[in-house]
Amino acid sequence: MKRLLAHPNKCTGCRSCMLICSFMHTDACSYHGSRIKIVSDEGHGIHTPTLCQFCEDPPCVSACPAEALSKNPKTNSIQVDASLCNGCQACISACPFGTMFFDPENQKAFTCDLCQGDPECVKVCQLPEALSYV
């Protein structure tokens, strides 16, 4: 099973990943719609990609009272059934990495779905190689 790995010391803070990720999953480019978030300390040149860690025993899945979350058997990512999600944000609180996100407009939780096995973020990180899908 492939995993999407981040190598923080190679992250340049360019945010290309955030801009393409949001575009692929929402109707616009933004930071808030991205499933990967870059956390930056610009003064010290430190940029850290944060995204779902695809836990073996995901706390978010356990926390969901509506059974809206499950593991995608093909990609091992967390899938959110939007028809079941009631926007309670229990999964967001449960995630120890802070990488389950909330869309306030539609009142739904979302996280990385690995673009169904062909992650777009990796495609725009080919020189820094801070993201790899292995």
């Binding site: 010391n9 190679k10 340049t12 803070g13 360019c14 945010r15 290309s16 801009l19 393409i20 949001s22 575009f23 929402t26 109707d27 616009a28 480019c29 933004s30 930071y31 808030h32 719609g33 930056s40 300390d41 610009e42 003064g43 010290h44 040149g45 430190i46 940029h47 495609k123 725009v124 990180c125 080919q126 020189l127 820094p128």
Partner: protein, 657 residues
């Protein structure tokens, strides 16, 4: 919400404490594209001729690219435009980092600052909400500290900040506006303009988004550009070694300005070059501007020795030549430390280095008094004095106060023949390209509206070192043989194509390094991305024509200010002294004076040679050769009729004979 752009101009008048917005006219996107182009239009409209650049009548404009806020590769660049205090002419300066995209996500494509505050203020743009806030507690603090304090005060470390340091506060004529801490809108003194308005910073937080018209086509066209960018031979080296990677090659080409442009070569230059830096203990990180896929920026730290505790973005190629080789030094730690001080005080490294070199040459020639020197030993290669001079310039201390006015004024003040080694034209210090060894660059530098530098048309292709470059020269001129920097032929054609492309690139928000420095992405691909973003078909010709229109408008601003052909020159040294390292033997001066064959290469930008290129260039543009001013028919053809009445009233529309 409109496609690609937020559609709003934010106006702030600091004298009247008024804030208002204006819609971006639809027509401007086709005529002027965005960023640099629209900035130029706003600047033209906002003032008459002859205003004081450091007075309240100057307009300071921040413009985001049409493609900023999207994943179009390298689309995160921003242009800052105003009238320059050092040249009293048009100034646009371009910057990376992440501030521009944040402004767009906050709902504004442009920020236009009018007037001047009485006491220091900062702007806080929090999505739609805009406030003018007291900045007296921030005045006197450097760029890095100010950014930190604002993050704390606002309570959000993701806030993007555009800020001036002591350089801008003290009205240093080459003060920079810094964004995302280490990214500089460096050239021409925009930082001093911001300082004259007592505007310490513009802090922005934007939670919005950017939509494109045709998502599928946008994705396709961007990926063509991404793929072609990755496939360019130099993409990987750009990421690995940065612009600093150019140092060894330019030095080997004997075109690496050293010792204040006395030489084009310095022994050991590789020790301040990109590959050496990459293997050294100093390079800690490679960084990238918003939406970039090359990520060519550096971040360095010095942990031991004299400069222990130093940490900074950079150094770039220009900085390395300006604060290293140009000063006769190949000390990498000195370059990094001096770069840090320029960054945190907010100074242009190119000009800062230029001034220090001018002073070193003056010291060698004993033109300064003991009183002026205050014990400074301005010897070539003295690293400590390089670092110290940056401090003194930023704080206008002692000799630093004279240098802070730029090299043209410093030479006028000190005299003693020092005008001859003031490497400036139009009042702007030349950037680190040896134009006596590259004639396309020479022409480009002479005609650049802001002064002699490479960020108007980067004609790397003329060196003939890369297959993509040779193909481009063939496309422009019809023959690869013109990929030769020592030819005068076809330089005008080459510069014209490059300046059109550069203007379009800047205005879309794309980085100049995506094309002309690399050869994977061409104007057709840019037009495709542009078309898909805005939902209207723009052809390559229309895009290049918009580029032409933009730089013609910039030219018109200068014409209105009184510029003529006499201003399209190069620094005295480059026009009168041959480049030593390319000159062989005693006969060079003789060859220059009594030239038998005008086609023979001599490493000098002589008036005869420059005039020949200027004649061709003005002819191609359909500008009057005597004055350099555009003809009426040229302005009409370019749909720039709006500038004619004012220029005509000043007698600046030339009659065609």
């Amino acid at each position: 919400m409109r496609f690609a752009i937020a559609g709003k101009i934010l106006h702030v008048d600091l004298s009247k404490r008024k804030i208002w917005t204006e819609s971006v006219p639809e027509e401007w996107i086709h005529k002027f594209i965005g960023s640099r182009g629209v900035n130029a239009k706003i600047l033209w409209d906002s003032m008459g001729s002859g205003i004081d650049p450091l007075g309240p009548e100057n307009t300071l404009i921040f413009g985001t690219g049409t493609l900023s806020g999207t994943f179009a590769p390298t689309s995160g660049r921003t242009t800052v435009t105003c009238k320059s205090p050092t040249t009293h002419l048009y100034l646009k300066t371009n910057v990376g980092g992440h501030w521009g995209t944040e402004l767009k996500f906050a709902g504004y494509d442009y920020l236009v600052v009018h007037g001047a505050a009485i006491t220091p203020v900062y702007l806080w743009i929090d999505d739609g909400k805009v406030e003018i806030r007291d900045a007296r507690h921030l005045w006197g603090k450097d760029v890095r500290e100010t950014t930190s304090l604002l993050h704390e005060e606002i309570g959000d470390p993701a806030t993007q900040v555009a800020v001036i340091g002591q350089g801008g506060e003290n009205l240093v004529y080459f003060a920079a506006i810094m964004v995302s801490v280490y990214n500089a809108a460096a050239r021409g003194g925009a930082g001093a303009v911001m300082g004259s308005k007592r505007l310490k910073a513009v802090a922005v937080r934007g939670h919005g988004s950017v939509k494109v018209a045709d998502g599928k086509e946008f994705y396709r066209s961007c990926h063509v550009a991404i793929k072609n960018s990755y496939e360019d031979a130099t993409a990987k080296f750009a990421h690995l070694y940065g612009t600093a990677g150019s140092v060894p090659m330019v030095n080997e080409a004997r075109a690496f300005p050293a010792y204040n442009f006395r030489r084009g070569y310095i022994e050991g230059a590789e020790k301040i070059g990109g590959p050496y830096l990459a293997e050294s203990k100093y390079l800690k990180r490679r960084l990238g501007c918003n939406a970039c896929i090359f990520c060519c920026h550096r971040y360095c730290e010095i942990k031991e020795g004299k400069y222990a505790g130093c940490y900074t973005g950079g150094p770039e190629y220009e900085t390395i030549s300006a604060l290293g080789a140009g000063c006769g030094s190949i000390d990498l730690e000195v370059v990094i430390k001096a770069n840090e001080l320029c960054n945190i005080y907010g100074l242009d490294t190119i000009s800062a280095g230029n001034l220090i070199q001018w002073a070193m040459e003056g010291y060698e020639k004993k033109i300064f008094t003991e009183q002026q020197l205050e014990g400074l030993r301005l010897e070539w290669g003295n690293g400590e004095v390089i670092v110290e001079m940056v401090r003194r310039i930023a704080h206008r201390q002692g000799l630093g106060n004279i240098l802070a006015d730029g090299v043209k004024r410093a030479a006028e003040k000190i005299g003693c023949g020092s005008e001859k080694w003031a490497i400036q034209a139009k009042g702007l210090e030349q950037s680190r390209v040896e134009t006596r060894a590259a004639f396309g660059y020479a022409l480009a530098f002479a005609v650049n509206p802001r002064g002699p530098d490479h960020l108007h048309s980067e004609t790397i292709a003329e060196f003939g070192t890369r297959p993509g470059g040779r193909r481009l020269i063939k496309k422009i001129t019809g023959d690869e043989k013109y990929a030769n920097p020592r030819l005068i032929e076809k330089r005008a054609d080459i510069v014209r194509w490059h300046e059109d492309c550069f203007a379009a690139t800047d205005s879309l928000g794309l980085c100049a390094f995506i094309n002309t420095s690399r050869f994977g992405v061409d104007p057709q691909q840019m037009a495709d991305m542009f078309s898909a973003a805005i939902g209207k078909r723009v052809t390559e010709e229309e895009l290049m024509e918009a580029g032409r229109r933009i730089l013609t408008l910039e030219k018109c601003f200068n014409v209105r200010e009184g510029a003529t052909r006499a201003d399209d020159v190069l620094p005295w040294r480059l026009m009168n002294e041959p480049l030593e390292s390319l000159a062989r033997g005693q006969d060079v001066m003789k060859a220059v004076e009594g030239k038998t064959n005008p086609e023979d290469f001599t490493p000098i930008n002589s008036p005869a040679m420059l005039n020949r290129m200027l004649d061709e260039y003005y002819e191609l543009h359909n500008w009057d050769k005597q004055t350099s001013w555009p003809y009426r028919e040229t302005l009409e053809k370019l749909d720039l009729k709006e500038v004619i009445p004012e220029l005509e009233s000043k007698g600046k529309i030339p009659r065609k004979k």
